[in-house]
Symmetry: C2
Subunit: 171 residues, 2 copies
Amino acid sequence: MSNDATRTRARDAAGPDRALLELERFLPYQLNVLMEAVSRSLSKLYGERYGLSVPEWRVIATLGQYRTMTAKQIGAHSRMNKTMVSRAVSALQRRGVVRRDRNANDRREEFLSLSDEGREIYDDLAPRAARFADTLLEALSVEERAHFTQMLWRLEERAKQISAARGKDII
Amino acid sequence: MSNDATRTRARDAAGPDRALLELERFLPYQLNVLMEAVSRSLSKLYGERYGLSVPEWRVIATLGQYRTMTAKQIGAHSRMNKTMVSRAVSALQRRGVVRRDRNANDRREEFLSLSDEGREIYDDLAPRAARFADTLLEALSVEERAHFTQMLWRLEERAKQISAARGKDII
DNA sequence: TGACATTAGTTTCAAATGTAACTAATAACT
DNA sequence: AGTTATTAGTTACATTTGAAACTAATGTCA
């Protein structure tokens, strides 16, 4: 048993067959599993109804909420790099979903907004998406929902801290 | 104001400027933001130290925990399709990190396991990953941690239910 | 004013990924 | 036994993505 080549000192020290890392108890793994289930369902929604890709949906959702934005603002808000925003916007414009208006004061940027057709799509999708999230949250009690959101937010802050402090071997 | 062409009936009914969907309060969005922050930090860990890709890390983490598995089992457990598993495994084998042993009883499949070098990598990375998750979870109190995990799990179950019930317009 | 730096957005190219077709082996049915 | 179906895993091809180079416009500073 102790001469089993694949059994290292570290594992021996850890006692009976307990792995150094149990994936099912590992937060990034758990988050990933949930995230995948959620985004699969959601993307089915806008994918089947309007043939939208994820980045396209994000652009529509952002413009639906904020009415007018530059590509850069959309990227900052929906967490996409400028390449993805550029591609999604031009695809949506070709489809007549998004309008571009050059800013006369700074002709590098354009003001983007939903066309009438784009707004129709948003008005159809947004409530469905909201309903989807509500249905999901029925898994939690009302108090839990607020608490959960709060915890998500704190974890995110902590994640930012960690990656900022990287190098100072916090990890 | 009410003759603004971009303002639809739906929005009017919703009252003063309140969007149909507020992204920052939308669960899939929140999850995505957290997930991205977390997985960026984590992948920096194994990316910088050993030049591992996400799928490669998943294979190592799975084999580290379960010692021996077929490619199919790894896929089921780490939620990758067989193509990704195949590619990650063969890259890792080329690097001498993973060993393959054909199953003599069913020569279609192979038993995969970490080589000594692979186990060294795992023994280095796994505790770091665990420490990363612990550091992250310091954002929550001890009681909250258990509660949070529990809620994640319930949400996941609910997400599965929803996508199963799709068509019966639960959404 | 004129050189240089920065910024918004696009395009190009390489890497990552998913789907579907494929190979080799086993199982199932007759 | 022999034909057909299923399964494990690989490969080929198309699509998606990200990083870096690029274009066009604005800002900065001498």
